[in-house]
């Protein structure tokens, strides 16, 4: 179980867990719930460089298409192949098995992201 209080967030409804210089990124339960059942994810290529606040992937539900933004600038270290095979993991466990990408980032940049309280106030109480 992910410790939600240790996570950082973006206004685009991504969460970030930092371990050294590796950031694990997913979408929040609030975002997964808003999307509905996720049926397809497209994630950036391993080894590619992504730029903060740019679109790097797509998350499609039965009803709509959500864009995945890079929360930070960095290199894609790993993508979650289990989610590519079974996109429903995003709904079932958004903060755990439904993680999307791991990025190698500058840890100092993480400090600028939202903390949990700021994110929860943004969504009006959901996380």
């Amino acid at each position: 179980m992910t410790d939600l209080t240790a996570l950082k967030y973006t206004a685009e409804h991504e969460w970030i867990a930092l371990d050294g210089d590796v950031a694990t990124v997913g979408i929040t339960a609030y975002a997964a719930d808003k999307l509905g059942d996720v049926v397809f994810v497209e994630l950036p290529a391993v080894g590619s460089t992504v730029t903060a606040a740019t679109v790097v992937g797509e998350i499609e539900s039965t009803k709509s298409v959500g864009e995945l933004y890079a929360p930070l600038t960095g290199e894609v270290l790993e993508i979650n192949e289990a989610v590519v095979d079974d996109p429903s993991l995003v709904n079932a466990d958004p903060f755990g098995a439904g993680w999307l990408v791991k990025l190698t980032v500058d840890p100092a940049a993480v400090a600028d992201l939202l903390d949990r309280d700021a994110y929860i106030s943004l969504t009006g109480g959901a996380e």
């Binding site: 509905g36 059942d37 049926v39 497209e42 499609e60 009803k63 298409v65």
Partner: protein, 377 residues
């Protein structure tokens, strides 16, 4: 912004944890648990839908049939008692103002069920068109709730629901697009009238239950309690949309509009062109041209779905689209993307390969007969 209307079942939806959306000015449940789970439940067992936002017009009087023959595209005067019929409200040019279901209770009392978003337009059309007919038209939308039970277990569920009494026809004998008169008694209360139509919008067997709004919560509770052991789940608009798309059923504002004449949407059979006169008759003759775009089904491989508004091309390098998707989704039942689109007749033959622009990538799609999904009967 005007406040959204809620149905008599709103507190039931809230208690079930529904997410809501604005649909035709009504705050309606979009899902309770999961779009996919609700969709699959309807295909394999049953789903319970609140569709009380639909508009009901009671058309009564000696010329009820004659009025509807003039006001709608079909020959409604030829219906038999307890029959239901799909029809269209056309404008003078033959464009579609709404698609409706008409139930005939008796020759002098018919009920027209219209889409929530078109309630005012249909009311206006009926008011204008009824002036020279001996007929009363009552918009009963606010008094009537509508609950749909859809799925292969529907009949068994209704038979297991206590309080449904005095059925005019055994459910097992009730054919598709027929209705029965019945009454429903909530626990400890007197029975109230109810109409049971074997109709629906999901491609499955099912029933649509019309009852006065104040009795709807008790009916909802009784159906859920009796149906849960048989696999019944409450289902929202998201599941309803993927179900109707698989079943190739048009949705007003997507496949149907004032800019579309019935033949383009594959609904030419709905128009009784040999009727003496009806609103839209002269317009249809002028508007229908051999090169008017027609509605087709498109099937794709993979999992990326073309969605409403996406352009359709006839070649990967074509610069100008030939058409546009009106509805599209990854089909939960079939496992691949499906869509409906208007394309030129020359590109409409089943088996034709077209290309959908899915956010910058052209994905091949095969023109397919509708519906995409047909239940085993």
């Amino acid at each position: 912004m005007t406040e959204l209307r809620t149905t008599a079942l709103h507190d039931r939806h809230e208690a079930l944890g529904a997410s809501f959306t604005d649909f035709g000015g009504w705050l309606m449940p979009v899902r309770y648990s999961s779009d996919l789970a609700e969709h699959h439940a309807v295909r394999t067992a049953a789903g319970l839908f609140d569709i009380s936002h639909m508009a009901e017009f009671l058309v009564e009087g000696p010329e009820a049939g004659a009025f509807l023959d003039y006001a709608l595209a079909g020959r409604l005067s030829a219906m038999t008692d307890d029959q239901a019929k799909y029809s269209l409200v056309l404008d003078a040019d033959g464009g579609i103002i709404d698609d409706v279901i008409v139930y005939r209770h008796n020759p002098e009392r018919l009920m027209v069920v219209a889409n929530a978003g078109n309630r005012a337009a249909v009311a206006e059309a009926f008011a204008e068109r009824s002036q020279s007919f001996d007929v009363d038209i009552d918009d009963a939308t606010d008094h009537i709730a509508l609950v749909a039970v859809q799925g292969p277990a529907s009949q068994e569920i209704l038979q297991a629901t206590p309080g449904i009494v005095d059925l005019s026809a055994a459910l097992g004998d009730l054919k598709y697009y027929r209705m029965a008169h019945a009454r429903f008694a909530a626990p400890g209360e007197e029975p109230v009238p109810m109409h049971v139509g074997r109709t629906g919008y999901t491609g499955e067997d099912g029933f649509e239950l019309y009852i006065r709004a104040s009795s709807a919560p008790a009916l909802w509770d009784a159906l859920l309690a009796a149906g849960e052991p048989l696999g019944l789940v409450p289902a929202g608009l998201a599941a309803r949309d993927t179900l109707r798309l698989e079943a190739g059923m048009p949705l007003y504002g997507h496949e149907l509009s004032r800019d579309i004449v019935p033949a383009q949407a594959g609904l030419g059979r709905v128009v009784a062109v040999d009727k003496d006169d009806f609103v839209g008759k002269s317009g249809l003759a002028a508007v229908v041209t051999p090169d008017a775009p027609v509605l087709v089904g498109l099937a794709c491989e993979g999992r990326r779905a073309g969605r409403a508004g996406y352009a359709v091309f006839d070649a990967t390098d074509a610069e100008t689209p030939v058409g546009e998707i009106t509805s599209g989704a990854l089909s939960p039942t079939l496992g691949h993307p499906i869509a409906m689109a208007f394309v030129p007749p020359a590109a409409s033959a089943p088996g034709t390969t077209l290309f959908i622009d899915v956010r910058g990538t052209r994905i091949p799609a095969t023109v397919t007969d509708l519906p995409f999904y047909r239940r085993n009967k």
